[in-house]
Amino acid sequence: MLEIKNLHVEIDGKKILNGLTLTVKAGEVAAIMGPNGSGKSTLSYVIAGKEDYEITEGEILLNGQSVLEMEPNERAAAGLFLAFQYPLEIPGVATMTFLKAAMNAQRKARGEEELTPGDFMKRVREAAAKLGINPDMLKRPLNVGFSGGEKKRMEILQMSLLDPSFCILDETDSGLDIDALRIVAEGVNALRGPSRGMLVITHYQRLLDHIVPDTVHVMAKGRIVKSGGKELALELEKNGYADYVEAA
């Protein structure tokens, strides 16, 4: 469960988030929609703990625990996962090596045993197969030379292997053709469950045709200006954001 209370955030003295309040319960899939520059990506980075942002006011609670003083890796170990809009390339590091390092780091942080090589391989192979990822791709350096669709699929693969309690998907549909979008959405839907919350950040309605949200929130000028059910997304698609931006 994620609770954001009256969050104010600045970068280089410029105010980006302006008293944002939002609650996403366990098992709930919430969508945040909004025009460019409304602060959607900033919100995802701030929750995950990226530097450079100054939080001047407010609180972020993950499963009841404040995350503001935690390092990004501590937030990850506490169950938070962010699927990046632009996944980073790590030259020279095989995807498999990266996956193992990440999984074992989180296990270590939680005081669990490292995975045995056999157990690790089994989990990766199964998860990759579900997402239609060719095992050969796992030997290549992470995200280097991957297509847009491959990078997004790799994000979902990591999400499924790391088994987070709360997922943020930042513009996961950007750069995807319709087939890739379907595969990614199926991967996400398979991870929906009663104990896992999700925050889906998107610009367009089309992603929400595939990942149907429980709640939809409209974001403008750094805060939530309207909340509703999934029908709100359809209304936005028809009428655009203009009214909300003006009202904010």
Binding site: A76, I90, A105
Partner: protein
């Protein structure tokens, strides 16, 4: 495979901390008086019971050295060295050449154990048929123990200390010593020629493929002792050898001078692969202490189609001044240089290579990866030249630098010179920074900052690590992570 695996396991169990090699073994040493003059040169030669020709060779070098001045062209800065304030000879007492490990001072063995050199382990491994590593362990200046001699002997390989070689194989030493790095070569090499203490000697007879990796662990132990190793490796026609050199030194306040000379000679169709992992004390967090490393390493591809390959992982020393080079004399010969140079804290590295193309159709490849962190300064300096007769010479150079933090520097200084119009030289260089976004991405997946840096850096240097024998690669990877601890944030 079992032996390889065991060795890797052993290396893995070496529990390396920030600078765990900072300890001093309490063994009585026999020291030459401080300072350097002809008498000291004679003293060293006499101590080692050397023949007349070698004493004269040393004395000639010493007289030459007196006329030379220290080079100042590197980007390293350090207070002047008082060459009269050093001991030029130190030998552990009680060393009438033990024949087996049982005869070795147990305290020495303990030191090796702390260093993680699996000497005893290797004796056990000797019974196994696959992959063996012979260690000619150099403790300060005198070789105390040489393992695997018997097995190597069967193959006709000579692997011993250079002092032993002077006694047992004088014709080989006299024929080759100083033919790659002459006594007149440069200030430090000339000094080394005058006072060299000991080192390794390898001779691989014609057509022989050395049955195991040869390995020497160097260790500087005696306070204020200049360390002057001399290594000579000869691969006769059609021979092959892979040689590993690994270094650690105890923690000290005083700067310690190290001026080694390594000479490699490859005759027709021979191949020498020389790998180094260097982890000498780099100085404390304020840059005090640390080893001064002024090394001359050069290989001579004397025969046709011969090949010499240098691979180095440099993580230690306060100052590194080192350019392992290849003289490509034989027709169709080739030289390679693979390097990872890491600097952190106040370390200064000025390192690179020279590829001197003299013969026809000679080829060379340079792959250098420099990583600078902290307040360190990391310079790649490389020379590639083709002489008039080097028709068809080819070189490919790639140097990449990675910067971590705001206060370090990376420099690339290539010298490219061609006197033959058919030579083809390519040079690529990049400089990059570990992006904050990359770090954040790795941390979001659960890695802490240091793990993230180590992962990204290991990716950056992977092409070079792959050139190392597996036993070394594992250790090198650990060293890289340790050297960069605390470099971010």
């Amino acid at each position: 495979m079992a032996a390889v695996k065991e060795t890797v396991e052993t290396v893995k169990t070496i529990d390396v901390d920030q600078y765990k090699y900072g300890f001093v073994t309490d063994i009585e040493s026999e020291l030459a008086p401080k300072g350097l003059n002809e008498d000291i040169v004679r003293y060293i030669s006499a101590k080692k019971d050397e023949p007349e020709w070698l004493l004269n060779w040393r004395l000639e070098a010493f007289r030459r050295w007196l006329t030379m001045t220290e080079p100042t062209w590197s980007r390293c800065h350090y207070p002047p060295i008082d060459f009269q304030d050093l001991h030029y000879y130190a030998a552990p007492k009680k060393t009438p050449g033990p024949k087996s490990l049982d005869e070795v001072d147990p305290q020495l063995l303990e030191t090796y154990a702390k260093l993680g050199i699996p000497l005893r382990e290797q004796e056990i491994l000797a019974g196994v048929q696959t992959s063996k590593v012979a260690v000619d362990a150099v403790f300060d200046s005198v070789s105390v123990v040489t393992t695997f001699k018997e097995e190597l002997k069967k193959a006709g390989v000579i692997f011993c200390s250079i002092s032993e070689a002077v006694k047992d194989h004088p014709e080989l030493v006299q024929k080759y010593l100083g033919t790659v790095v002459p006594t007149t070569d440069n200030f430090y090499a000339t000094l080394n020629s005058a006072v060299f203490s000991d080192g390794s000697f390898v001779y691989i007879p014609p057509g022989v493929r050395c049955p195991m990796e040869l390995s020497t662990y160097f260790r500087i132990n005696e306070q204020k002792t200049g360390q002057f190793e001399r290594t000579l490796i000869i691969a006769d026609k059609g021979a092959y050898v892979s040689y590993l050199e690994g270094c650690t030194a105890p923690k000290r306040d005083e700067n310690q001078l190290h001026a080694a000379v390594v000479e490699l000679i490859a005759l027709d169709d021979a191949e020498i692969k020389y790998s180094t992992v260097q982890n000498w004390y780099p100085g404390d967090s304020e840059g005090k202490g640390g080893i001064y490393n002024f090394v001359t390493k050069r290989g001579d591809c004397r025969g046709a189609r011969s090949k010499i390959s240098w691979t180095q992982v440099e993580t230690g020393s306060a100052i590194t001044w080192k350019y392992p080079s290849c003289i490509l004399r034989g027709e169709g010969s080739s030289g390679e240089f693979y390097s990872i140079a890491i600097s952190n804290g106040y370390q200064q590295v000025d390192s690179g290579t020279k590829m001197i193309h003299l013969g026809k159709n000679t080829t060379s490849k340079i792959l250098a990866k420099g990583i600078a962190a902290g307040k360190s300064d990391n310079t790649y300096r490389g020379q590639v030249s083709a002489h008039r007769k080097a028709t068809g010479a080819r070189n490919f150079t790639n140097c990449d630098s990675l910067l971590i933090g705001q206060e370090c520097g990376a420099h690339t200084i290539p010298y490219i010179e061609s006197k033959n119009s058919s030579a083809v030289f390519e040079h690529e260089a990049t400089t990059s920074k570990i992006a904050d976004d990359q770090l954040f991405y790795c941390m979001q997946r659960g890695l802490d900052e240091e793990e993230a840096v180590a992962l990204i850096v290991n990716g950056f240097v992977k092409e070079v690590l792959q050139q190392l024998p597996m036993e070394f690669a594992v250790e090198a990877q650990k060293l890289i992570a340790i050297s960069l601890e605390g470099s971010v944030g």
